[in-house]
């Protein structure tokens, strides 16, 4: 119904300007989920939202100034949809703003391109490496893996071997293979198209962070009694 109205208004543009019965201009706004800007950037409406509006307002709407990033901003700024609606209605009093999708946009302010320091990376790599080695040894001791290996060796060959390396070395290599298989990754190459559990977990973590930020950095979303 609304869409029809929009088409109608564009078609009879002259009439609208001349006539007294001016119809509301419907503006559809869908805020983006997350955007990145640099320090001292000026954010306009086009940056933070997808817009559908009729031609006469679209050009101005697109360039509507929303926020100026300053030096003393934190690295995350949350812009609430209510603020956006307020800005639009200030400039276009007759606009009928319809919002779809997220009710705030998370603006990440990037100061400089951060370089990964190699020593930090290396120490984390070693930490994981040593930790993984230790935990697998713990696990093996915990479940008496050595005795089980000896037992399997004896069952199948009928001989006794204190160190059944013919079983244990393929077993160790298999450990690594199993993990790679599970994560579906061999360095850059992927075994199939689906996202790996790790990527899903990364995504979930990012969503949790975004949700937290949206609630806590957004002053409008909470009201507390400040007097103590």
């Amino acid at each position: 119904m609304k869409l029809i109205v929009v088409i109608h208004t564009t078609k009879y543009k002259e009439n609208i300007f001349l006539g007294s019965e001016r119809m509301d201009q419907t503006v559809y706004i869908r805020l983006r989920h997350r955007i990145q800007v640099r320090k001292n950037d000026s954010i306009i409406l086009k940056d933070i939202a997808q817009i559908i509006a009729n031609e006469e307002v679209y050009g101005q709407l697109e360039k509507l100034h929303v926020y100026q990033v300053s030096e003393n901003d934190n690295n995350i700024v949350v812009i609430d949809v209510m603020k956006v609606i307020q800005l639009i209605t200030n400039s276009f009093p007759r606009a009928d703003v319809q919002t779809i999708g997220p009710s705030q946009v998370i603006v990440g302010v990037i100061s400089k391109k951060k370089k990964i320091s190699f020593p930090v990376f290396l120490s984390v790599w070693l930490l994981l490496f040593i930790g993984a080695a230790l935990t697998i040894m713990n696990f093996h001791e915990d479940v008496s893996m050595r005795i089980v290996h000896q037992r399997i060796y004896t069952i199948l060959t009928g001989e006794v071997d204190e160190k059944p390396l013919v079983f244990q070395i393929p077993y160790s290599i298999g450990l690594g293979m199993g993990m790679i298989l599970f994560f579906n990754h061999i360095f850059k190459k992927r075994l199939n198209e689906e996202p790996s559990p790790l990527e899903v977990e990364m995504f979930n973590y990012q969503m949790d962070l975004d949700h937290y930020v949206a609630m806590n950095e957004n002053k409008e979303s909470m009201k507390q009694i400040d007097d103590i």
Binding site: I116, V120, F121, V124, W125, L126, L128, F129, I130, G131, A132, A133, T135, I136, M137, F139, R146, R151, I152, Y153, T154, I155, L156, T157, G158, E159, K163, P164, V166, F167, Q168, I169, P170, Y171, S172, I173, G174, L175, G176, M177, G178, M179, I180, L181, F182, F183, N184, H185, F187, K188, L191, N192, E194, P197, L198, E201, M202, N204, Y205, Q206
Partner: protein, 121 residues
């Protein structure tokens, strides 16, 4: 024990992950059977203590398979999955998370080899 074993498999999701990788969802019933059959054989093996005289090289594929299974279990432990995203964010290497994963994989292989070859007297 048996119930614990099944719960362990179900929670960690090794079988779902395998069916997802190989796109063989329809065969999942047979995978269940394989697990049951394997558990029964393992049980018989430990209690009854049979002894066959097969060449010891049969142990190479069996070792590889058991290692792969334990590796998948280790990878599926949710603690591992939770640690990586946080770590990658902290040191700011979202794109290079694979290298951290490789640290984990090589650590497991190294730890296991070390234990079998040197650590055990």
């Amino acid at each position: 024990m048996g119930a614990g074993f099944v719960a362990f498999l179900a929670v960690l999701g090794v079988i779902p992950r395998l069916t997802q990788l190989t796109k063989t969802m329809k065969m999942i019933r047979y995978y269940e059977l394989a697990v049951v059959f394997g558990a029964v054989c393992g049980g018989l093996g430990t209690l009854w203590e049979p002894s066959f005289s097969i060449t010891k090289y049969i142990l190479i594929p069996i070792g590889l398979a058991s290692g792969t299974f334990i590796g998948m279990l280790a990878a599926a432990l949710t603690e591992v999955l939770n640690v990586f995203p946080i770590l990658a964010k902290r040191i700011g290497i979202d794109g290079k998370i694979v290298y951290l994963l490789m640290a984990f994989v090589f650590g497991k292989i190294f730890g296991s080899l070390y234990q079998w070859i040197y650590f055990v007297k």
